[in-house]
Symmetry: C2
Subunit: 352 residues, 2 copies
């Protein structure tokens, strides 16, 4: 990729999000929400009506509109591309669909050496619609940074091997332990796909990236170290030359926080189970933290939310950098006005 | 309850399970499996054919047969009563059913003060079928101890408030934070129900009890301390006079292990995310540990299982007491022969 081809929104580079991620001083704490573009918003449900998830992800006009909706409504400090972690898998020909209320479902799970060998690399031409959507968005967003994202190799592998969402990841773990060579081949392919997906987004103008290893918390620290971390490291190292901050997130990762950081993150996303001050101790001084309000609490009354937002801000104060977020995605039943009030509160209560 | 009324199987009192739970020396490590009586066994599927879960739980003949099946087949060192944590709720009139592939589902969720007030106490007469099943079992089991069990107040509350299984426990947490007084009333009622359920089982001859707080790992340590632990402590303190060991288990409780023990457990069940040596350090010297092979690994080949069983035994060796178990329940797809081999390996490899 040449420097010429890269569209860099100069003011986004100096945004609060990027500065906090790089552990530089900020006048107030930046805030965005995982799944801020989604079912909690009536305007989202309106534009999605009758359009399948993967079809929506392939339409730059819809991706742009949906990505912008929470920025307009809530005044968050970052947009995150509306897409799905399985979009690059679909783009390389994996036969899958995203079923409402279920999640990604494969026509045939990936379980043999032949299945793994059939997964080809992702090239930029596979995802022209992503490049176009990001360019449109960067033009619209002005100084608000756009976060690009990808699914981490382990989480992608779990969907592929299980054939859909899984609570126990049993066949995934069985392959990991039972056929480490095949596992490594699969994860390396997925790492290259995730990396290519991120590079297209950054080349088109994304100002930061988030690598979602949503299910990493299902693993012991020993399994993560041996079977997962090195492949996530490949992805994160592969975007290092682009200079954008790298956020790395998983749920239930209390036992893994040091590793989640050490595989190459600038920012570690933390769920609500570990307070940010303790999380930052585990992660160390070289990385910022992101999180970690329990999304379930947004269903309580405002006094509860007010108290908990202030607690999260207080616990994040001594971290080397703090990006306010939820500990996991916005729940679809969330009242969007609650999210707007959280943004306002973070902006005022964190002002230095 | 009078001492006369209590049926005590004397040889079970000196069983390996009870001795390990009380941190007394054992010639080898006892082993049983959560959900050992269940869908992994063809003989279970045969006797359950055409019979609903709650109907099966109400028939002492079936409960006895199903509870004995894994003891016969695997030679485990303990039986656990075949029942469900919602059985006592059904017994006090909560309108619920257990749907195959889903779990407990309520006709109407419990969300208001009126709903909570309608939950009446459990009395022994409500669960004569449990008393009968336990007495039948104790007669059959001889020296093999029977573990009685109950759901902990938080996990029961989540089913009641959400109306069924939940991934995020959002309405549960909203009530907990939004109306702490109502929450406390509900959890106190559920603690009394769980306690009464356990006392009936021990009076009829159960040699140990396990309190399942399956979803406690969804909570932060601060929320557990304030909203949950005191109610679990009520249950565990309420059986202290019976002298049977109390096992307390939840999934994903790495951040809570000290509290899970301190609320009154003799044994803390640990999932696979924290190695037993580290878990025991967090729990302290006054409690034994139970666990913690990842049930997903039973889908791998035997050499993997052999290695991992030995690892768990080695990590549990320095704990004040160790009961071998999985880190969560047996997965329905598990090959039952694998479970039998694990029992044999634990028996031989742990011999002192």
């Amino acid at each position: 990729m040449s420097a010429m081809a890269r569209c860099v929104p100069m003011n986004a580079v100096d945004s609060l999000l990027v500065r906090a991620a790089h552990r530089r001083p900020v006048p107030r704490t930046p805030v965005w929400f995982m799944r801020q573009a989604g079912r909690s918003l009536p305007e989202y449900r309106a534009v999605r009506a009758g359009i399948g998830m993967l079809d929506a992800c392939a339409r730059p006009d819809l991706v742009t509109e949906i990505t912008l909706q929470p920025v307009r409504r809530h005044g968050v400090d970052a947009a995150i591309l509306f897409s799905d972690i399985v979009v690059p898998l679909k783009a390389v020909g994996v036969d899958l669909d995203i079923k409402p209320g279920v999640g990604p479902v494969l026509a045939e799970p990936v379980r043999t050496a032949q299945d793994v060998a059939a997964i080809r690399p992702l090239v930029a031409e596979d995802i022209g619609f992503i490049d176009e959507a990001v360019r449109l968005l960067v033009g619209e967003l002005g100084g608000t940074p756009l976060i690009g994202f990808a699914g981490a190799p382990f989480t992608l592998a779990s969907y592929l091997i299980e054939g859909g969402p899984s609570r126990d990841h049993a066949r995934t773990k069985a392959m990991m332990h039972g056929d480490p060579a095949l596992w490594s081949t699969l994860l390396d392919r997925l790492a290259q796909i995730a990396l290519a997906f991120l590079r297209v987004q950054v080349a088109a103008g994304a100002s930061a990236v988030q690598l979602f290893d949503s299910w990493a918390g299902a693993l012991s620290a020993a399994d993560y170290r041996r079977f997962v971390g090195p492949h996530s490291a490949t992805v994160l190292a592969g975007v290092a030359d682009l200079g954008v901050p790298r956020i790395h997130f998983g749920v239930g990762t209390g036992e893994l926080l040091d590793q989640i950081g050490a595989v190459g993150a600038d920012v570690v996303g933390v769920d609500w189970r570990v307070p940010l001050d303790e999380a930052s101790r585990r992660i160390g001084p070289d990385r910022a933290v992101q999180g970690n309000l329990d999304p379930a609490l947004l269903l309580a009354d405002w006094p509860v939310v007010d108290r908990e937002v202030r607690r999260v801000l207080a616990e994040g104060r001594d971290a080397p950098g703090h990006i306010f977020n939820l500990g996991h995605g916005v729940l679809p039943v969330t009242d969007p006005d609650m999210l707007t009030r959280v943004v306002e509160l973070v902006h005022t209560a964190s002002a230095r």
